[in-house]
């Protein structure tokens, strides 16, 4: 457990703090920028904005989660970190679990907070905002897992970052369908399915990403 906490502390420190702080704020600012631009693009038609605003927030959240993809796994692979961990008997699975938790902590709480001003920008009501927040709470762990999984798969490839972004989008469709779908029905079923998608992704990511790191060794 103390090994896991050491890894988590390091990963969080790198994703949140120090030199790269600006890069952590970027996804949140990007999220807010999309929410701000949307009313300009579709015009000040309040009913249209209220009806579609929730879905736009979901797309913005998905795209914001893709932004930090290139610095999730690749830099540490170049550093030889995973080789050093393997020599100490620390599995890639454990390292990837820590990375997944750190990635979630680095963007999701801030995103949930940013959804409050964003909801005002796109003009959705309190009940919709509640569904968006619950949906993002259920869906962001899945987005974080997907980010780590794809980052591990594409680490070391030329143009891996761009490819990673493209790969995440189709894989995130179930999350988006159920998450944004819960807005239309307002029901708990959509939220439950979003959480189920997240659970599956969170469960398979440590193993799939760990295997990707191992097979990437040469």
């Amino acid at each position: 457990m103390s090994v896991f906490l050491s890894l988590l502390r390091r990963d969080l420190g790198l994703l949140l703090g120090g030199e790269r702080r600006g890069a952590t704020l970027l996804p949140i600012l990007f999220f807010l920028a999309v929410a701000m631009l949307y009313p300009f693009a579709v015009g000040p038609d309040a009913p249209v904005l209220a009806r579609t605003g929730g879905g736009v927030l979901w797309i913005a959240a998905l795209l914001a989660a893709i932004l930090p993809l290139d610095r999730l796994v690749e830099p540490d692979m170049e550093l030889g970190l995973f080789d050093q961990l393997a020599l100490r008997g620390i599995s890639e699975e454990l390292a990837m679990t820590a990375r997944m938790v750190a990635h979630w902590l680095s963007f999701a709480p801030a995103l949930l907070l940013a959804a409050l001003p964003a909801s005002a920008l796109v003009g959705i009501d309190a009940a919709t905002l509640r569904t968006v927040e619950l949906g993002l709470l259920a869906g962001t762990p899945g987005l974080a897992a997907l980010g780590v999984l794809v980052a591990a798969l594409t680490a070391g490839l030329r143009g891996g970052a761009a490819l990673g972004g493209l790969l995440v989008i189709p894989l995130a469709v179930p999350l988006l369908v159920f998450g944004a779908g819960s807005l239309a029905t307002g029901g708990e079923a959509g939220l439950a399915l979003t959480a189920a998608c997240s659970l599956v992704l969170v469960a398979i990511t440590p193993f799939a990403a760990g295997a990707a790191i191992r097979s990437g060794r040469g």
């Binding site: 120090g18 030889g80 050093q84 393997a86 620390i90 060794r217």
Partner: protein, 192 residues
């Protein structure tokens, strides 16, 4: 230091279509040091990675007893962090062991971010990380790259110390290096 042993039997290594070496055997016991020589591209690094268990041999087997520490061209220290903090991460994982920062002349660099260090300083930092692991088996891949004469002497001193304490050191280097016992193999002798 605990008893340790590193044995390899009939190793062969293939990279792509090329068989780099074959029929390589070695048996190192506590206190032994061995230099692996060879021109560029003869498979020194591959041999190290096979011995470390990071690369599967094309044929043959490796048996190890004792933990291993690896030094290669990647320092595995976070570039953005000050050196002391980057080393502290590994110290937390490895537990309290001997600190080699003073011996390697790193004390004055503690607050300098790793990415500002020179090649030689980075190598020394990586040496401190490896020595601080407290593992009995050392695998060093080109440890002299980028080091000045004083640095080379430091590496030789560290390795001699380590072997005197009953550790194993396997050094892959194309440069001359003085090791206790002076044993060496040349990968050219095992070329396929």
């Amino acid at each position: 230091m605990q008893e340790c042993r590193l044995t390899a039997h009939d190793l062969a290594c293939r990279r792509g279509d090329r068989l780099l070496f074959r029929g390589l055997a070695l048996d190192l016991i506590s206190g032994a040091a061995l230099q692996v020589k060879g021109a560029n591209g003869t498979g020194k690094s591959s041999l190290i990675r096979i011995l470390a268990g990071l690369l599967a041999p094309f044929a043959g087997s490796v048996a190890r007893s004792g933990a291993m520490a690896l030094l290669d061209e990647r320092p595995a220290l976070d570039p953005a962090l000050p050196l002391a903090k980057a080393l502290a991460f590994w110290q937390r994982l490895d537990g309290p062991t001997e600190n080699h920062a003073a011996q390697l002349g790193l004390l004055s660099l503690a607050e300098v971010p790793v990415r500002y260090l020179s090649t030689g300083q980075k190598k020394r930092a990586a040496l401190a990380r490896m020595a601080g692991q407290g593992a009995p088996i050392w695998l060093l891949d080109e440890p002299l790259n980028g080091l000045d004469t004083r640095g080379v002497a430091l590496v030789e001193e560290l390795v001699a110390q380590h072997c005197a304490q009953g550790g194993i050191a396997l050094v892959a280097s194309h440069q001359p290096i003085t090791l206790p016992g002076g044993a060496a193999i040349d990968l050219a002798d095992f070329a396929a």
